[in-house]
Structure formats: C-alpha cells, structure tokens
C-alpha cells in the first residue's frame, strides 16, 4: 500500500475543501469496507484519504415527510433495523440485512454502499495482476470474457466489460425510484438513481455519474403504498453472507387481487442495478400467480447475453423475480 495522508472532516464543506487542496489523487473514505479492501489489493492507490464517515448530522434517518431520507453516513445496520423502514419498506430493510455480515453492516455507510466496486475476480486481481481488466486499467483488455465468467453479468455487458454491479441496496433503491443527493465544489445537486449508474460501454472505469470532489450526502426515496407489499429476494451460493447470483427487488400494489403497480429491479445479473420495465408492464393487471410472474420475469432477460459459464443466470434470474412477486403479493398492505 502506498504511503498516504489521512484527514478527518467534520462537515461536508470541510471535506470538499480538503479534497480541493489534496487533488485528484485523494479519495473520500467512509466505512472503508470497499476502499480500504481495494487498497490492500493495490487496486486503489490514493495518496490522501479524507474521512467523511462522521460528518455532522449526516447520519440522519427521517421517515416523517413525503419522502424517506437517509443521510449518507447512516450505517447499513441502522437503516436495516429502523422500525418504520422494516414495516413499511421491507424491500429496503431486507436489501441491507441480506448484504454482508453484521460486522460490515456496522461499518459501511449507506452512501458508500452506493459506490461499492465490483467483485469481479479479475478486477480484484491486484495492481500487478497477471490478468488484464479494463475497469482497473483502461485499455488493457478483459480476462473475464472467455475466462471464468460464472459470476459475470448477462445484462448490460459490453465487449470491454461484463462485471456485475455488486450491491443489493442500490437495487432496492432503483426499484423505488430513489434520488441521490450530492455536494461538490460547485454546489449541490440531485441525481435520479437511474442516471447514477453507468453502463460499461467502452469506458468501464467510469461507473458512477459523480464528479471529482463530489460527496454523496443523502438518499431520498418517494413514499409509495407499494412499500408494504415489497421484498428483496436474494439467491446466493450459500444461504447467508454472499453476493447475489441473482436477486430481485419487488414492490406491488394490488386491488381486488390484481396488480395495479409493480416496481421491479434485478441484482446479480446486470452491469448496473437493473430496472425491469418490461416485467413491470407485463405484471400490470395480472393476478400475482407464479406462472404469470415467471412469464413477466422472462421478458427482463430478452436481451441477455450469457458467456460460457453464466447462462444459468437467465433462468435463475427469472425464477428469482417470480418468487419475489409471489412473496411481495403475500404481504399485508
């Protein structure tokens, strides 16, 4: 690991000023569960760390208005355990409680979690790894394509990158149309989550629509009656503490047993949190039977492009969505 300077900021303004002084070799660090991990692997090599994990007032969780608001410094465990979130938005609570371990959920911030980097083993192979990675070293090539690609994405891939977007929380937020609040050297702005995550295309090193020096300060989610009939369903290689092979965030409203609104997003299968608009449209007006849900779910994978070892994700992904629809529909509004 390279030598570095460490500064702790008390306010967002202080942090942004410190970044301005330190320059582009600086990184903000919150919980550090991704960044420090990647520094140990040599994938990230910052010269300055600006600690933003305890910015004053930035861990606020507010469920009182017409939007849910989560301060970026709130820990994953705190949001997962929030009683209002658990009762009214189980999709959000479950996306956090089914992620990582309790130790990591106590450390990781919900703002930093938005920017978790991929678990692609070729990306994590290290600064001097023998395998090329366009995300780690632009232009070097992609060893995952044609390589051991069991965990790679089947949706949103490009000839430069097939790495899966690793998060669960971002998938749930995508289903519920969250907005990301940012603060930076030129002021504050809000970005819809659908625009926050970039497809890899020919620039897989660019993953987030965040500008140099910007900080995620909060996440807001419009309240919806679909929140109560919602779930985050996650299928993993082991039952707990693993990344998703396929996951689905589903939130529904029903009237007389028929789906009137459906929010569906997929994890574990896409290069970014994947909104399944086709599936949502097909679920509209249907009864939430598993067959109807499975037919609708398959539409999300119409454009899927499997590699050598990950074709199973197309069927697994569709079944995961179908199960999630049945689970969500079974909940009480």
């Amino acid at each position: 690991m390279r030598q570095l300077n460490y500064t702790r900021a008390d306010t967002t303004a202080q942090a942004i000023a410190a970044y301005g002084q330190a320059g582009e070799q600086a990184r903000y660090i919150a919980g550090g569960t991704t960044l420090y991990d990647l520094m140990k692997l040599g994938v990230e090599q910052p010269l300055h760390l600006i600690d933003i994990s305890d910015l004053r007032g930035n861990d606020r969780i507010d469920t009182t208005g017409d939007r849910l608001f989560f301060g970026a410094c709130a820990r994953m465990a705190d949001v997962a355990e929030n009683p209002v979130v658990r009762r009214d938005y189980p999709v959000l609570a479950e996306s956090l409680s089914k992620a990582a371990s309790q130790q990591l959920r106590n450390m990781a911030s919900i703002g930093g979690n938005l920017m978790q980097r991929t678990r692609c083993p070729y990306f994590r192979n290290g600064a001097h790894g023998v395998f090329p990675c366009n995300k780690r070293e632009p232009g070097s090539g992609c060893a995952a394509i044609g390589g051991i690609d069991r965990g790679q994405a089947v949706l949103g891939t490009s000839s430069a990158c097939t790495a899966v977007s690793p998060g669960d929380w971002p998938v749930a937020l995508t289903a519920l149309d969250a907005t990301i609040e940012l603060a930076g050297p030129t002021g504050t702005r809000s970005v819809p989550i659908a625009e926050f995550y970039l497809l890899p295309g020919s620039t897989p090193q660019r993953e987030f629509a965040i500008r140099p020096g910007e900080i995620v300060t909060g996440i807001s989610v419009p309240k919806t009656p679909a929140g109560r009939r919602s779930t985050y369903h996650k299928v993993r290689d082991r039952e707990s503490y693993a990344f998703a092979l396929a996951s689905a965030a589903v939130a529904l409203t029903l009237e007389r047993g028929t789906i009137t609104t459906a929010h569906v997003a997929l994890g574990g299968v896409g290069t970014r949190p994947w909104r399944a608009r086709e599936t949502e449209a097909l679920l509209q007006g249907k009864r939430p039977t598993r067959d109807a849900a499975l037919a609708a779910a398959r539409a999300a994978f119409a454009d899927a492009r499997p590699g050598q070892h990950n074709g199973f994700k197309i069927e697994l992904g569709a079944r995961t969505v179908a199960d999630a629809v049945v689970i969500a529909a079974g909940r009480t509004a």
Partner: protein, 205 residues
C-alpha cells in the same frame, strides 16, 4: 468509571513532528481495576506519514502515533501486544479479527487505525471479569465450540454483540447473524449451542 489522565510515555504531537514523522510512540495506562489486561506497549519506526491516536482500549487510555495506512488489527496486535484478535483473511471476510468499537462489532482488519481516534475499543482480552470468564467464553468451553481455536476470539466477540443486539433469539437467527464468522474446523453446531446457552445467562444477568 474513573478516567485517569495518561502521562507516562506520552509524547506530544509537536514533539513527534520534531523527531520526524517516522517516530512512533505508545503509551497505555491501565486504570485501577481488579485485573487489568496485560499489555506490552511497543514503539516502532513507521515508514509513512503517521496519525495520532488517543483511544480507550479495554478500559485503558492509549496514546500512540501510527502509520496512516495501518489497520486497527495491526495496531492491536503489533503495537499493543493484544494478539487475541486474529488475522485470518485481512479482508473482512472471515470475522477472526472481530472487536467492539463503541459497543458495536466490527472487523478490525478493515477498520483503519486512524478512524479509532477518540473512540472506545473492547477486545477479547477485555471481557473477562478478573479470573471469571465471560459467560460466552465459558459457554464456548462447555459446548466444545472450537477445535483449533483460531477463529474463537472473533466468534466470541461477535457472539456477545449478537446477543446484545437481540439477534440471538432463535437458532436460525443466531446462524444468520453469526454468518460473518467462518470456522474452518466446522465447529458450528457447538458454536450455536454455546451462544444459545450464553444468551440465556446474559439475559438473566
């Protein structure tokens, strides 16, 4: 609790800067208590920019300068002689390094030492009451909840937190909330039984 002011071995930030950023200093002053944990302060030469740390570890005030890159785990093991927390994967995946930071369980390998300035840490060395083991330690012995023992300090620290969080009410819940602690010997049956047993005793205490 009686807060003692650290004096011995203390080196100020200015003095440290004067002797160069490479100098490291540690002071650890145990408070008056029945059986203070045995610690061996170690000075060392750091080869990068350092940060000052003032923290409370197992009830003792600690002052030291440490390389800004260091993990809390390395600080505990290499600088403070607290070798109970173990380095398993060093990537937050195995839980062997679990300690409590401000009362919450965390992996000390993925926590930068710089982050613990002004905070309170409890390690496996700090949970017994004198010669009386913590109920969780005793339960691990009673239920044969280990084979090689390498993961055990992390298991016990995670288990104590698991009970305090209210996540040890059923066997399924214990398994779920202990999933961040890997035991390669496969002593899971004993571990779950130990936590169930200790949880009941901790709730009564």
């Amino acid at each position: 609790m009686n807060q003692s002011e650290p004096t011995a071995f203390e080196i100020t930030r200015r003095e440290t800067l004067q002797v160069g950023a490479a100098a490291g200093a540690v002071s650890l002053i145990p408070e008056a208590r029945a059986n203070p944990p045995s610690v061996t302060p170690v000075s060392t030469t750091e080869n990068g920019p350092t940060v000052p740390i003032s923290a409370r570890i197992n009830g003792s005030s600690v002052l030291l300068q440490i390389d800004a890159r260091a993990s809390l785990l390395d600080m505990l093991r290499e600088r403070l002689g607290l070798t109970g927390a173990k380095k398993g994967c060093d990537h937050g995946q195995c839980g062997a390094c679990t300690v409590h930071l401000d009362g919450r369980r965390i992996t000390s390998c993925l926590t930068m030492a710089a982050k613990v300035d002004g905070r309170e840490i409890v390690t496996i060395e700090g949970i017994a009451d004198g010669d009386t083991l913590h109920p969780m330690q005793q339960a691990f012995i009673d239920h044969d909840a280990l084979q090689c023992g390498y993961c055990t300090p992390g298991q016990i620290m995670a288990a104590i937190a698991c009970v305090k969080e209210g996540h040890a009410t059923t066997r399924d819940q214990i398994r779920e909330y202990m999933s961040g602690n890997i035991c390669r010997c496969g002593a899971y049956v004993g571990i779950v039984a130990a936590i169930e047993d200790a949880a009941a005793k901790m709730r009564r205490a």
